[in-house]
């Protein structure tokens, strides 16, 4: 494995993007990953505050009408290569808001989602499994 690929997959800085219509439970569940029980910093995964530093965008919640433009702009500003991870039933499909008048677009109609992690909310173990699969996919590609 080249150093480049290793560096990209061993040091994933994630930016947490709430796409508007989230019940906040997925967001809290993401923070669980940083607690001593799961401690994803072991794998070099850190939560960053600025989209410019991010290697992965975690999208939670169903995309509201107003948030579409913002989400697009956030993705455009990210420094590539950058992967998009949809977390939770809301972000994967549209969850319970599928027929909602304010949430017309699914997340993957706006962003190129690389991996879907379903669940309402997904357990931290499921998220870690998702990231592991994503890393496998990235490494297998090259």
């Amino acid at each position: 494995m080249s150093l480049k690929l290793k560096a990209l997959t061993k040091s994933i800085w994630v930016y947490h993007l709430c796409a508007g219509g989230s019940c906040n439970n997925c967001d809290i569940e993401i923070l669980d990953l940083l607690t001593p029980r799961y401690d994803v910093e072991r794998f070099g995964i850190m939560l960053v505050g600025s989209i410019k530093h991010a290697d992965a965008i975690l999208v939670t919640g169903s995309l509201t009408r107003k948030a579409v433009e913002c989400v697009k702009r956030v993705y455009e500003q990210a420094a590539k290569p950058c992967v998009v991870i949809a977390i939770g039933a809301c972000a994967c499909g549209q969850g319970m808001f599928a027929n909602g008048p304010n949430t017309p677009d699914p997340v993957d109609s706006v962003l190129p989602v690389d991996i879907y992690i379903p669940g309402c909310p997904p357990k931290p173990e499921a998220m870690i499994l998702g990231i592991v699969k994503l890393i496998g996919k990235l490494r297998g590609k090259k």
């Binding site: 401690d39 910093e41 505050g49 410019k52 530093h53 500003q77």
Partner: protein
Amino acid sequence: MEEVSPVKIMLKHLFNFIIFPGFLFTAVVGLAASWIDRKVTARVQWRVGPPWYQPFIDLVKLSIKEITVPKGASKPVFFMAPFIGLSAVILSSTFLWLANLELGASGFTGDLIVILYLLTIPSIMLILGASASGNPLAAVGASREIKLLLAYELPFVFALVVPIIKSNGLLKLQDLIAFQAANGAFASNISGFLAMIVAIFCMQAKLGLVPFDMAEAETEIMAGVYIEYSGILLAILKLTKIMAMVALPLFLSTVFWGGFSIWKYVVLLVIIILMRNTNPRVRIDQALRFFWKKMTFVAIIAVLLAMIGM
């Protein structure tokens, strides 16, 4: 004795600057220190922590990522600032290492003052780069960094006056080390000890670590001064910070504590890490009050004590 050709001297200086003990060596030591910092922090929080190569691989990753430039940014300043900051910190660490390792008669009268200035340049460049990016949160961060700079420079300069008074006006690092070797470290006197405590607090603020990290406050202004930087520019800013984590303890142990040794560096590093892990972030006005009232007061007492020879 043969005459040494100027080319050779230049090559030696370049070697000193780029490989040992300048850029590469300091960067390696700094990466190790930064890993220790992260690992100890993780252990304090009952976590496992990152593997030993993590700081290095973070830098590699950053340097292969895209560089994004915000639309309204002033490009020359935005691009230049990280490089100037890095070269300042390389230069100061080269001076400090050379003075400590006694590789030939390096240094000149007054290099203490030059290093004081050089160590300020990374902060100033950070302020310039952040302001050039045109981001409002970066502007908030830059304004906090300016206030912090004004806050800690005053007691820091006062603290540095103490060794100068005690050594009857020596301004050269190697002379200071030689003087301390003959007469005992300044930190063993009460005035030098007080000055060193002040300098340790200033060092924490210069490094921008908790409790004085309000300029980059991840949780409130989203990395503040760093917010618009990405790719290799961010890598350089991080590297500057990592190398300052070597240069500043080195400076303190040179000036107050009789020169570098590994255990002194470890003690100072442990103080930095403990302070960082046991404190919350203070507000900028609290920091200003802390430095201008308490620390400056202590530093002035130290200067007075030094004048009466204690």
